[in-house]
Amino acid sequence: MDLAVHDLKQHRGRFLATVFGVGLLFTIVLAMNGLYRGNIQEGLALIKAANPDLWIVERGRGGPFNEQSTLPEHYRYSVQAAPGVAQANAFIYYSVERQIGGQSRHFSIVGYEAPDGLGGPQRILAGRSISHAHYEMVAHPKLGVGLGEQVALGLHTYTVVGLTKEAISPDGDPIVYLSLPDAQEVLYQRDNQEIRSARDQLLRNLASQGVSGSQAERLLNPLQADTHTINAILVRLQLGANRATVARDVDKWLYLSAFSTDDEVDLMLKGRLASMSKQLLLFRTLLLVISVVILALVVYTFTMEKIRSIAVMKLIGAPNRVIIRLVMEQSLLLTVSAFAFGLVLIQNTYTFFPRTIVLLSADHLMTFAIAVAGGVLASVLGLWQALTTEPAMALGGG
């Protein structure tokens, strides 16, 4: 006889309310699982999409995504000349906020040596890749632009020639691919007043050092900030070349740091993505603990309400396993129902979240196992109360 089910049928309202409440908590836990996976997927998307044999960055820096790395653009020629290197291309990456379609949009720009340089979009969803040196862009649909649309960035207007979904920035922002010079121009673009003011300041500095006016005018251009900088050089190795050897040579002779794509992934996982992952783990743990505490209280209340019935059951000879089954089954029914509710809810709502939510069956199974263990734990208090109930309680005094 299934006592737990009979009892829950009598407390249908409270059972459903508990399933709803705890189910919402499980929804958040599952969403955080998905957010954790999404955070990693987004954080690594660009690295995996580019997937060169080596990422060359400023020496001692873990760039270009985990840490800032700045290199003169011409370094790529030195890298290209290194033994074992088949192809070396400049790569630039930065985040901007601009008005697009009348709305302020935050997105990241990738500049690569179009059309065939490493680091460009690999899988075009619609349209084509960048084929001209200037004024073309490939964008993520999340940016809200359509194929053929004209987008003003700084002083120029760019045509959306392709759409790609393969990459998203580590911050979850859409990516815009531009040719390298366009990306540098957008990055270093300044308004005229700012340019004039910088020139005047430079001339005053030179004058204060005793440089004459005509000499200062001649020195102005060479002394102004160089805009031909990049963040990394992406390398494709020659067939049969040893990655470690090339990386060692780059480090030793060019005073740069070289990482494989796996190293880049590792840098991100241990660096920029780690704190977010820890944060999410902490939240998930807290929410699971809260769920278990709520379940424990509900199961305890259910048990306390039945304590006289439990005494009667014991008096008429019910073995402990009948009592244990009653309490434990209720706890597990609540846990499993709440989890199922949470799972159905997240499966039907995860696309509405602003950040990428990646739902994996393995995560669901793991969370379910923890939830069930929590459900068993939640029944401990009720079980203890039930098992220590004296059958004499069923009899009146006299």
Binding site: M1, L3, H6, D7, K9, Q10, H11, K306, R308, S309, V312, M313, K314, L315, I316, G317, A318, P319, V322, E390, P391, A392, A394, L395, G396, G397, G398
Partner: protein, 228 residues
């Protein structure tokens, strides 16, 4: 046939100057088909004796032989006591004590499920008992919607479900009006006569004991021989 033999039963609580003697020198024999009443005021030890007979309170001294088996012998555990209770003893309580989330029929089925009776046979037996108690038409109702008398009849049906050799009834009429109380007592008498069971009823209501085979008065933890 003697179903219960009690000799020199005593129960004390506490020690030293805090010692309370709840039962002393109880000798009692109950046979099959006998209807026995235990009377006495509050605190006289009726419930303590009932607890000892229910195998949930171990006496300090004396012996209880139930159905030829010495109880509380060395090596007996709570599991053994529960087995005897579910197989051989039926309980009727003061406040019915039906399991509130089970229907009348399910309440009767419950002890049958504990002794592992096959489902269809158990269902038949439960309906027979409810029919015997003239409450079969209320079989699918929850206790909350049954009257006090109906609940007590379901409780008696439950007590009979396992073909108990001994039925212990603790103030079974306390929560009923006189008419319904008389009806319940009549049922208990009928059970004692027809079911090869012995019935021990603890009560303080003198009006309810007419027709009992033995009536024992309890006072200060002892059976009063002058009034047996």
């Amino acid at each position: 046939m003697e179903i219960l033999q009690i000799q020199g039963l005593a129960k004390t609580f506490g020690t030293g100057h805090l010692e309370v003697r709840a039962l002393a020198d109880i000798d009692l024999t109950v046979s099959t088909n006998e209807l026995v009443a235990l009377l006495g005021p509050s605190g006289s030890g009726k419930t303590t004796l009932l607890l000892c007979l229910s195998l949930i309170l171990e006496p300090t001294a004396g012996t209880i032989v139930f159905d030829g088996q010495p109880i509380y012998q060395q090596g007996w555990t709570g599991v053994d006591m529960r087995r005897v209770r579910r197989e051989k003893i039926g309980f009727v309580f003061q406040s019915h004590n039906l399991i509130p989330f089970l229907t009348a029929k399910q309440n009767v089925l419950f002890p049958l499920s504990l002794i592992g009776q096959e489902r269809a046979a158990a269902e038949r037996r439960a309906m027979e008992l409810l029919d015997y108690m003239e409450i079969a038409d209320r079989a699918d109702f929850l206790p909350a919607v049954l009257s006090g008398g109906e609940q007590q009849r379901v409780a008696i049906a439950r007590a009979l479900a396992n073909n108990a050799k001994l039925i212990l009834a603790d103030e079974p009429t306390a929560a009923l009006d006189t008419q319904r109380g008389m009806r319940v007592m009549a049922l208990l008498k009928e059970i004692a006569r027809e079911n090869q069971s012995a019935v021990i009823v603890v009560t303080h209501d003198m009006r309810m004991i007419e027709g009992f085979d033995h009536v024992y008065h309890m006072k200060d933890g002892r059976l009063d021989p002058s009034r047996a």
